[in-house]
């Protein structure tokens, strides 16, 4: 039987078939580029819906490649059953032995497309990295961080670990600005200032609530932590908003002479999602 398969295989991969298959692959590649270009243009035109638009590309890619693969196998090559099973078996064995990680990442990518833990445009934190998902390939996910670095994370790794998704498909995202003040701070006045500072920042999404939480903590001495929780208009403005609120808050503290009443170097702040 094996002796019969080889000539059949040679016959299947004739120059004509190879040319047709290459043409189909080329067309699929061009089509995918056209889809990506159109979606990018559409997202730029309607930034409000850019997350929904962005998430349609991975699905489109899977669909296009599935159709092209099916067309090449059944429409161009059209191999006899025994050849197909033999080739599939051989490929399976070779891939299973030699490219375990690649296949694992690929399968993880496929699983993520149909059951996504995040979408393009989401802000995620994983493996110590925090950034915007800019691209989901079949085997890897690309993050863009606020330091303007691009990080590539294998999809299999993502499925193994906990992923923190800050906005889950929405443009607005909660940002927490934490400010520590000495325990002697006047809570009511400072809380009112913090609320005002957040509501006056042009980057805050006022459709959602702004709250300030106060908690006691100890860091060499007793402190009061003011956590300003507000939603940012667009995830990309997250850092800008945190900085703006902190700036406004400190200026107001100084303006109302509240900061001067506090011991020097007694304040510290941190922003997080």
């Amino acid at each position: 039987m094996e002796q019969g398969i080889l000539p059949q295989l040679i016959e299947l991969f004739s120059t004509e078939h190879l040319l047709q298959a290459s043409m189909a692959i080329l067309l699929a590649w061009l089509l995918l580029h056209a889809i990506r270009f159109s979606l990018d243009k559409l997202a730029a035109r309607f930034p409000r819906y850019r997350l929904q638009i962005g998430q349609s590309f991975p699905v489109a890619r899977i669909l296009v490649w599935s159709i092209v693969t099916a067309y090449i196998v059944f429409g161009i090559l059209n191999p006899p059953e025994e050849v197909m099973f033999a080739v599939l078996g051989s490929i399976g064995l070779a891939v299973g032995l030699g490219a375990q990680d690649g296949i694992r990442n690929l399968l993880a990518g496929v699983m993520m497309i149909f059951n996504p833990p995040y979408r393009i445009g989401d802000m995620i934190e994983m493996a110590g990295h925090y950034g915007e998902v800019v691209r989901i390939d079949l085997s890897v996910t690309w993050l863009h961080t606020f330091d303007d670095s691009t990080i590539m994370i294998p999809n299999a790794e993502i499925l193994k670990q906990a992923v923190v998704n800050s906005n889950s498909g929405e443009l607005a995202e909660m940002v927490v600005v934490r400010i520590d003040l000495p325990a002697t701070a006047q809570v009511a006045d400072i809380k009112a200032l913090a609320l005002d500072a957040a509501r006056c920042s042009p980057y805050v999404y006022l459709k959602k609530p702004v709250v300030v939480m106060v908690e006691s903590r100890h860091d060499y001495r007793h402190l009061l932590r003011f956590s300003i929780k507000a939603y940012v208009l667009d995830v990309r403005l997250e850092r800008r908003m945190a900085s703006d609120i902190t700036e406004r808050f400190y200026e107001a503290l100084q303006g109302q002479s509240l900061l001067t009443q506090l011991p020097e170097s007694s304040t510290q702040s941190a922003a997080s999602i």
Binding site: R45, P47, R48, L193, D196, A197, R248
Partner: protein, 394 residues
Amino acid sequence: MGNYFEAINRLPAQLHSWAQTRWARWTGDKEAVAEATYWSLKDLQGSLAASTQPTSTAIQQAFDDAALTARDPRFIGRETALETLVLALSEWREGRACMVSIQGPQGVGISSLLAQVTTLIHDHEVLISERFCQRLRNTTDVLDLFARTLGLSETPASVPELIEILQQTEPRIILLDDAHLLAFRVMGTRTAVRTFGSILVASQPRHLWILGFRRHAWRRLNYLYQAERYFTHTIELDYFSADELKAVISQRFEHARIEIDWSDQHWSRLHQYSRGKPDLAFHYSRLLASENPAEDDRPEVLRPIDLSFLKSLDMEDLFSLAELAVHGSLHCAEHQQIFHETPDGSLMRLEHLCNRGLVERFIPICGETTPRYRITPILSGQIAEHLYKVNYLY
């Protein structure tokens, strides 16, 4: 049926023109685009300047952008809003506490509607009409505003004193226009707005307050103070529908004794390009009415405005436009406070927007001498639409 055939016959030419325009816009041949099918902002502003020349007094008077006074026959198309006002007045007369808000986009006719309240009141009823001239920054500003509104010789010393005065004054219908000035995104102004609101609510059983807001400011006041819950009646004005616009424009021509004979296509394009926004529709109408039919080679008046360059504005420009849309107008110093900018930075930003034709400088009517900046009125609808699309307005 004939209309359908006509529309089908026009389709290939329209498709061709659409494709040609798209291609020109794609290749960046803006001049060709503007000349053929779009108003460039420069030409539009030129036409605006020309339209203020006293070429035809009748046309100028017919399409005056100023708010209409009470009983002006040109005030039509707001029947539902008037019905709500009548309902609020009758409920108030029965002794129920009422407060009315009128809100809508800039230039939709809020002031004109407020002016019509005069026609709805009884002879013995007292009506006061006042407008916000400045933003409320503290309690003193609030007390000054009420003292001015009530015609008090001295400003009350405190809020309880003012409320007492309001309780003792005979019942009045009080109109307050330009209430969008309440929305001010600067630290420390929250107390003033809350004080203003509490005075309205406290005097609500005795007086009928009717306030006019611009839409984006109203929305922001709702997000920040849940303003809507304190108003018993909310009137939402919108741009005119095609039929309403036709009636409004025809009425204006009729009032000026100018005869027009526009085809259905003309009316439909007027509505399409103005989106039913009165001031823009009036501008098109002014241009159409002043057009000399002998000059065949001139580009058509009824064409949309090319605002494709809005896409090239940077984030700070768009945020500035968004805050201008919400605040109605801003001083340079107010812009500076909102954006934490330097004085030079704010001035440069606003002047840049002025140079692009998106914003205009004006001196307010309330006696201020410092110029304010506002979105060019006839473009406000399209700019707001773009800002919403790009997620700077919500």
